[in-house]
Symmetry: C2
């Protein structure tokens, strides 16, 4: 995707997009994503400097800087822009979302959890640094995420930043991705997992942090409670669709395409959307969720084009 960076349409400012200038004709999703990803990765690179004891900073940076889609930070930046905010307001929170996401990947990959050797096309953190350091790198990324938001957010009233701290905490703790991971672990090896349980897992393990990313972008820019409701529904639906597509790709894509082990769900006899409904019906379900998500933000007109197209991208992606 990196080569798209040089094909930036003139209507885009490389520093901050102006939501007012988007039209269905001039908006190019891949340029938008490439520019946003480059900005996010530059900010992530600056967010952690290596010092003594180097091993822990190396370990944190190893997983944080491994290439990813950076979907959570991009959603945070895009939502902040939609409500008239800029990167100085949202970038620290955007980075924090990626730090927390990275923490969850490092800990999920541990031998005591999913026991994975590859992630984002590289050896998993514990394979390189050892299990002890991997646990600690996750802990450090999680704690640092909150510190980073508190210390670096500019031009936002403190009460809004505190609301973001609260949303991020809830998205990670037992009411969020930890709760989802627990039910996921409990359902391993069970063949009678219901669609209800599966939705609980996806809503918590995947959608919660996507929701926090989107909603936080809105909060920082001063979105009102009615907007926050719309953003919440948008994010929950793209979150569930994202996971359904992930489960489909686990069957249809190669490990190389995914950058992580493919075919894991079938090998583990794991109940997924495709295993319950089949691939075509799962794809339709994901498409319906995306339509529902988009209907929530239609009222914002052309300014919502980035969030609309990101939603489409979630079901169209191949990795």
């Amino acid at each position: 995707m990196a080569q798209n960076i040089i094909n930036i349409p003139n209507t885009f400012n490389s520093e901050t997009f102006c939501a007012d200038t988007f039209t269905p004709e001039n908006f190019d999703l891949f340029s938008y994503l490439a520019i946003a990803k480059a900005k996010v990765e530059q900010a992530l690179d600056r967010s952690i400097k290596v010092k003594y004891p180097e091993k822990i900073y190396d370990s944190m940076r190893y997983s944080l800087m491994a290439s990813g889609k950076r979907l959570r930070p991009i959603l945070c930046l895009a939502t902040c822009e939609l409500f008239g905010g800029d990167d100085r307001m949202s970038m620290p929170t955007a980075c924090a979302m990626e730090m927390v996401h990275t923490m969850s990947l490092i800990h999920d990959d541990l031998p005591a959890m999913d026991n994975d050797d590859y992630r984002r096309g590289k050896l998993t953190n514990h394979k390189v640094y050892g299990e002890d350091i991997a646990v600690l790198a996750g802990d450090a990324l999680l704690a640092y995420a909150f510190e980073y938001i508190a210390d670096n957010t500019e031009n936002v009233p403190s009460d809004r930043i505190l609301r973001v701290v609260s949303r991020l905490g809830r998205a990670v703790a037992a009411e969020g991705l930890v709760g989802g991971q627990v039910v996921d672990l409990e359902s391993e090896g069970k063949t009678d997992t219901t669609l209800e349980t599966l939705n609980f897992i996806h809503r918590h393990k995947t959608a919660a942090l996507l929701e926090a990313s989107v909603v936080s972008g809105g909060i920082l820019a001063g979105a009102q409670s009615e907007d926050i409701k719309r953003l919440t529904i948008y994010a929950q639906n793209i979150g569930l669709a994202f996971q359904i597509i992930d489960d489909i790709l686990d069957i249809t894509a190669t490990s190389e395409e995914l950058g992580k082990t493919a075919g894991k769900d079938i090998a583990a006899q794991k109940v997924t959307y495709p295993s319950l409904l089949g691939i075509p019906a799962s794809q339709i379900q994901a498409d319906n969720l995306i339509d529902l998500a988009k209907s929530q933000i239609q009222c914002y007109g052309n300014s919502a084009i980035p969030l609309m197209r990101i939603a489409d991208y979630i079901t169209a992606r191949k990795y």
Copy 2:
């Protein structure tokens, strides 16, 4: 210590202590600690309710509600009182400090780290709930600590609460207890660890969170930068003294007294203050640090009696 709760001197209000009323004659440390501990444990008990998926909430509560000294929350409450604040301002942060401390114990006890079977007189978290849940319970406690501060702190301006979020993050992440634990792990099995390295470990692994507890109590109550400096030096010194005493007790106390495995340092041939300096010189060093700590808060007169006596208690404790 629980029986002391019924022997409350009349000069103490069981809800909130009034720092103005302390005198060297009427202050009874054990009543003070017992009352504060009971208040903290009541608040901790209320902070986490069990719901679906029950296992993770049970696991979090198992370690959080295991009896401990509750030194970090008590220091937070006491410092807030010293600057005229009350429990509504400080209790959420006090609870958060204990949540974070508990997270660090759960993760430190994991097989991949110190591999301990007992903590606070009970089986360690992973021995009861499994390694996967223990990792996740720690993650959830850490994230929830920040959410809990943001959502529950009353009568404090948001910018002060954000400063507390930042201090807590720094105390935990790679510049705090994670960094200390990394150097501690690296020095395992080494016989040439220097006093400088040992001090780095103790300052980060132990003192950082004690410092955050003390300083946060001051920040919440509106302490000025000169006060924060004094509190920082006080906390760093009692933190280092606390760890020196811990190392002495590892040699002199029984596992039953400690509620965790005794004699671990010698078994692991770990370099400690006692192994470098001997027990008597280590005790003197701890006493000197406590004197230094107390000299920083002498200027606050009788109001500082609780923090003075807690400092004394750190070197006098037997478990």
